[in-house]
């Protein structure tokens, strides 16, 4: 969809005219991220992270394809191959550090993108499909990142793979055969490493496909904005190009500076020292933890320590481990239901005083889960992660539905233009109350 005032693409010369007739690719780009896409004029810098996430995906694919040219998914040589890339391949160290830290920065960007969505309720009608596709992308990213971390075949790679695939063993009846089938053996080895490499190469392109759907779905209703008020007239919007290409260009510069500081000066800061020790099935590391971006979900997984039993009989209904696995998957799957859990007609957290308070408590809850996920499994971290896990589900399943039905939202501005300029005289739909009087 586009707004009636959207600029139309006009081919400038014979070649673009020819192209526009046969394959209107320039028109497509023009309407997607060019002057043909009208965007709310009041987007703040939290709206930069979509473009940044797209940049990260491209960066990961380019560096990843180069790394794959020099890598071999064979348990006997994988570790040495990575060192070969670091030492002998021209700028191999740059490719590898950019790829490894690129994954971390991709997740940082994605978390900011998702939490922007939480605060401004970007998931609400008419943008549910964008949100659903976004959560799908996040799940695919988690799978891709997990399998990528296994490829260097260091200690943390091996033991991380063992712990995570062990989760499937918790499923009743089919768990153990399923785990063996997934790994191609009883423990991670050549078979697992090869299929992880294959899938790690495939999934980014699946992600790219879903990203195209995500952007397509975005262009149906158009971008949301910090007031949460829908676009009413031309003065509410600016063309994407040059206004947001310029703003995104600046945002990309700041992002690249931060990213480069880590890649060139602190490249091992976000990793684990243990992963520079070759995988050894006979030596368990003192503390097995995933990469930092999985900490909150890892904390939820480990929060369940007591089996669910029938009281006083000792009959185990659900094992603690299985409960943890279910909770961990549920903690992300629950995001799929968000558009229907939060029924407040107001989108932006700026106009929802009660919601805003709980949003900040929720951020605190995520921070606690993050700390607990990276900590060893002893007190007080177990207790803290249990409380935070309970609150996590309480937030989505109880607090959000109740808040959205009892809350008295603040008065919304008439339009985006009024929010920016304090007046809106050119609106084509309706006049603001003040102008009518």
């Amino acid at each position: 969809m586009s707004f009636p005032w959207a600029k139309q693409y006009e081919p400038a010369n014979d070649f673009t005219k020819f192209l526009d007739e046969k394959l209107p690719l320039p028109r497509f780009v023009y309407n997607a991220v060019g002057a043909g896409y009208p965007v709310p004029r009041n987007l703040n810098y939290f709206w930069n992270f979509g473009v940044l996430a797209g940049f990260c995906l491209v960066l990961q694919i380019i560096t990843g394809v180069v790394l794959a040219m020099h890598y071999a998914a064979d348990a006997t040589v994988a570790f040495d191959k990575v060192e070969h890339i670091m030492r002998d391949v021209n700028y191999g160290w740059l490719m590898r550090y950019a790829h490894a830290n690129g994954a971390s920065f991709f997740f940082m960007v994605i978390y900011l993108h998702i939490f922007r969505g939480f605060f401004y309720s970007s998931y609400k009608a008419p943008r549910e499909m964008i949100w659903l596709l976004g959560v799908t992308i996040f799940l695919l990213m988690m799978a891709t990142a997990f399998m990528g971390y296994v490829l260097p075949w260091g200690q943390m790679s091996f033991w991380g793979a063992k712990v995570i695939t062990g989760l499937f063993g918790a499923i009743p009846l089919v768990g153990e055969p399923l785990q063996i089938w997934l790994l191609g053996g009883y423990a991670p080895d050549d078979a697992a490493l090869n299929r992880f490499f294959s899938l790690h190469f495939l999934l980014p392109f699946v992600i790219a496909g879903v990203v195209i759907l995500h952007i397509w779905a975005l262009h149906i209703p158009g971008s949301s904005n910090p007031t949460g008020v829908e676009i009413k007239s031309e003065s509410d919007t600016v063309p994407f190009h040059p206004y947001y290409t310029a703003k995104d260009g600046f945002g990309l510069g700041v992002f690249l500076i931060l990213f480069s500081i880590v890649v060139f000066y602190l490249p091992t800061m976000l990793g684990h020292a243990e992963n520079y020790i070759p995988a050894n099935p006979l030596s368990t590391p003192a503390l097995i933890v995933p990469e930092w971006y999985f900490y909150p979900f890892y904390a939820i997984l480990r929060a369940f320590t007591i089996d669910v039993t029938i009281p006083f009989t000792g009959i185990v209904l659900i094992k603690a481990q299985l409960l943890g696995v279910i909770a961990m998957f549920a903690s992300i799957l629950i995001w799929f239901f968000l558009p229907w859990l939060d029924k407040s007609p107001v989108r932006s957290g700026h106009y929802r005083p009660l919601f805003r308070k709980f949003f900040y408590v929720f951020l605190l809850c995520m921070a606690i889960l993050f700390v607990c996920g990276g900590a060893p499994a002893y007190e007080p971290y177990i207790m803290l992660s249990q409380i935070a896990t309970a609150y996590y589900f309480l937030h989505f399943l109880v607090i959000l539905p109740i808040v959205s039905s009892i809350e008295q939202p603040k008065e919304l501005p008439f339009s985006i233009t009024e929010a920016v300029l304090g007046k809106d005289d050119k609106s084509v739909l309706d006049k603001p109350a003040a102008a009518k009087a």
Binding site: E83, R87, G249, A390
Partner: protein, 282 residues
Amino acid sequence: MIRIGALALGFFFFATVIFWSFIPGAYTHFFGEHPPKAAEKVFHLEPKDVSFSFDGPFGSWDAQQLQRGLKVYKETCAACHSLEQVSFRSLSEIGYTEAEVKAIAAEFTVPGVNPDTGEAEGRPGLPTDKFPSPYANDIAAAAANNNAIPPDLSLMPKARKGGAPYIYSLLTGYQDPPAELLQKYPEAKPGPGLNYNPYFKNLNIAMVAPLTVDGQVTYDDGTEATVDQMAKDVSAFLSWTAEPTMIERKRTGFWWIGFLIFATILAYLSKKQVWSSIKGKD
């Protein structure tokens, strides 16, 4: 409907937590007595504060120091530890000529094949070879070292928390176990074949102190080979083996980030310029 289901599920979670909290003993592990602190928590020390020429964003290798470190490695560490990721040819990066690299490689015997009979036999190393392991395989390594396999040293500063200062502290940290430790934690007394070193994660390390007397290695450049100096030099050398591209990385980063800052300022100015046309206008 979804909201009703959600409420029900939410209350189920809530009820489960409440129910658990009434199970006798659910909290005793939290409020109860903590297990006494283990000896390695009390006596373990963080790496010493030591600086190297390659520290910081503008650091660089000290080629003389790396060459001294190589000598310490060859004469002391190489008896038990391999350096499998490092090829002899890369020694030209720390200031050796082609002829010197050839000579160093030839000092080592690498596994090879007799060209006439095809039987396995050792041959002198070539610049294209990597530093060989002193043992034929892990079993031989374990058998010769009281079942503790000496780890490969190629990546040591990156594979241990604390980096080069940790290596230096470990090499200079051997001492007799403190009397307090023996008194309070008799079980933490180093067992047979183990040595007390507070910088090692569990205090008891299988490796005997490798650098014990000043002058153990004779430096070619006339530097006095104190234990402290040797430990520092070999830590620097291992930092180079762990990441020979470290200085190239830092130098590249300097110019690249400088360019990025310049480009970002331009991007900011153009953003301001573009947006000024609609600021305050409808």
